[in-house]
Symmetry: C2
Subunit: 146 residues, 2 copies
């Protein structure tokens, strides 16, 4: 089996097919990884989440990455990492982008409910509001089997 | 569906069942994630890899994390993050630990071959030697559905 570097076009195609990914953030050089629900367009990754450690860390350090993979079996797989910058999408100034993100994420509503339920359990607060954010992609890199 | 925080014992049980994980490292506060083949015992995660960006970064900053998850379906899943410190296991002083790691990793030899092949393709160097490293676990945290 041989591996090859994926082209930016191949990386973007894998990102756009992905429903979930692993978000990496870092605070004082301590990395943290969390599985998230995602939807991508050409230059951004939209992520749904509730307030938590990862949001606090990304506010302090907006340099993030997102890793996705497609694993058919041990000899047929690919892995892509997108590097980018965390950006919140608060109302009302990002209303249009939030609507765009909401449409892209719409098919993954189970994961939305998960994230909201998680936060509600953790805080005992049933009024927790979901939040979106965006990762503006700076670069992509990937490896895959030929 | 409700989620709960997993106990350290539950987190360690999930880590010990895992064959693969996502390794997070960080350099100058830029996080990076790579899928890796792993094997765990009570206080360490053993990882097989070849020399590459992730090794360079971890030498510069040994604070790392490793995330694993078990996803049965959207309503039954768990995710664990272990925080720890990167430690190389060079010969000959870590001969015993390398042998221990080798035994633990033995059942995942396809992934070993992947990592070696990856490096050989990237460097055109067929003499690339595999390397092990260890993550000494400092703490674990996890969430799962009940």
């Amino acid at each position: 089996m041989e591996m090859k570097e994926l082209s930016p076009k191949e990386c973007h195609a894998i990102l756009q097919r992905a429903e979930t990914g692993r978000l990496g953030c870092s605070f004082e050089n301590q990395p943290y990884i969390v599985p998230v629900s995602i939807a991508c367009d050409d230059d951004s990754i939209y992520v749904f989440a509730t307030f938590g450690q990862k949001i606090k860390w990304m506010r302090a350090n907006p340099k993030v990455c997102l890793q996705v993979d497609e694993i058919k079996d041990h000899s047929r797989w690919s892995s892509v990492v997108a590097y980018g910058r965390y950006q919140e999408l608060p109302e009302p100034q990002f209303k249009q982008q939030r609507e765009h993100a909401r449409k892209l994420l719409q098919q993954r509503h189970d994961w939305w409910l998960n994230a909201v339920a998680e936060r509600r359990i953790a805080t005992k607060d049933v009024s927790v509001e979901p939040m979106f954010f965006r990762i503006q992609i700076d670069s992509v890199t990937g490896l895959g089997t030929e």
